[in-house]
């Protein structure tokens, strides 16, 4: 089967294009799929992570996936971010060091993910950010990663990559999985078998809402949203039929046309942010408990 891949950017249309590939290939088993990039004029590098959510499922069903007719500019960026190594294409040295490479992690590999952030978030052309911003950003990424590890049931693991846009002072980082989606966990927890994906995402964003049983939780996404708000960044959450976006322009939640096979969180941060992210007054143990 040959499928066209069109221009893919970090927006609802881009995620829906990826979900359409998943839909068209859903019944395939032991088959071959050619992803034809001849009509793709632009591919934002961080979208390699959600694209891999589709590829991972295809490979899990023992399908042979290949890439054909990829324009050279796209090939260059996807060799620089190591995505094409999964198709046995040799990496290219990232001269400007603006990529955080594509990587596949096992669900239990939180510490390896932290090591990866150590390597690629410190210098290496990825922006020099204030210590406070770097810490909050890393905390946010680790919260997202561990959420995926605990809740996704994604057998192929968690897929990550990032891209720095120096002219815009923006850094995009994307964490995707090929799991059951937020709605499955929320449906089970709330015993509401019909809850749709958009409502499930909204449920998960409420402070204190967690699908873990007999344990408090549900702060990770709320903290992430607060951080994005202070940083003037952007947050996108795509899970099954749900698309959520939060930025300075406001908040929107839309139903997607197609079923994205898993969950993807994309964070775009403003790298010029100099906010301290610290409280003015110090708390003691006595203030906390």
């Amino acid at each position: 089967m040959k499928l066209n891949v069109f221009t893919i950017k970090s927006n609802q249309v881009g995620f829906d294009s990826i979900a359409l590939i998943a839909k068209k290939t859903t019944p395939l088993l032991f088959d071959s799929v050619e992803l034809d990039f001849s009509n793709c004029n632009f591919f934002e590098a961080n979208m390699a992570a959600p694209l891999y959510s589709v590829i991972a499922r295809l490979r899990n069903e023992l399908n042979e996936v290949s890439i054909v007719n990829m324009p050279s500019a796209i090939k260059t960026i996807l060799r620089k971010n190591h995505f094409l190594t999964i198709f046995n294409v040799v990496d290219l040295w990232d001269t400007n060091q603006t990529t955080i490479p594509f990587k596949i992690f096992k669900l239990q590999a939180g510490e390896h993910f932290s090591d990866y952030l150590d390597i690629y978030m410190n210098g290496r052309g990825v922006p020099t950010m204030s210590t406070a911003l770097t810490k909050r950003f890393r905390q946010s990424l680790l919260e997202i990663f561990q959420n995926a590890a605990i809740h996704s049931q994604s057998e192929p693991g968690v897929f990550t990559c990032g891209q720095f846009y120096p002219q815009k002072h923006r850094l995009d980082f994307t964490i995707a999985d090929a799991g059951v989606g937020i709605r499955e966990n929320v449906r089970r927890y709330t015993r509401d078998a019909k809850m749709n994906s958009c409502t499930a995402i909204q449920w998960a964003l409420v402070e204190g809402h967690t699908t873990k049983t007999e344990q408090p939780g549900g702060l990770g996404l709320k903290l992430l949203k607060e951080f994005i708000c202070m940083n003037n960044g952007k947050l996108q959450i795509v899970s099954r039929y749900g698309y959520y976006e939060f930025s300075a322009n406001g908040e929107l939640i839309n139903e997607m046309d197609h079923d994205f096979p898993g969950t993807c969180v994309n964070i775009e941060i403003n790298t010029e942010d100099t906010i301290s992210y610290c409280l003015k007054s110090e708390l003691s143990s006595d203030d906390i408990f």
């Binding site: 939180g110 605990i150 749709n196 409502t199 939780g217 903290l223 409280l279 143990s285 906390i288």
Partner: protein, 119 residues
Amino acid sequence: MDNRITIKVTDLIGSRLCISSEDGQKVFEKAESLLKRGKNVTISFDSVTMLISLFLNVAIGQLYGSFSEEEVRSMVKVDGLSVDDMELLKRVVDNAKKYYANSKEYDAAWRDEGEEDEE
């Protein structure tokens, strides 16, 4: 006699990264067993390089499921946390108190929402 025992988190979990629920569970179980024996506990985060809410929910938030607010306040202390991590812990503690006070109420409200089917 000083009854206080310090749990050095990095020694107990063997890592400077407080990021997993499994490691949080180790800290919780150690603290819970000491508190049940009437010991006062200091949870020390000295040398920790990264801390996330998920870990704190399990390690400390869960204590409110086993002990009253008054017991936790009088018997548990933390040290070695930066100012911003103390703020994070405060959020976790406030959230845990709310969770154990009325965990089922939020969910019932969401079950009443009208829904459309998806595939």
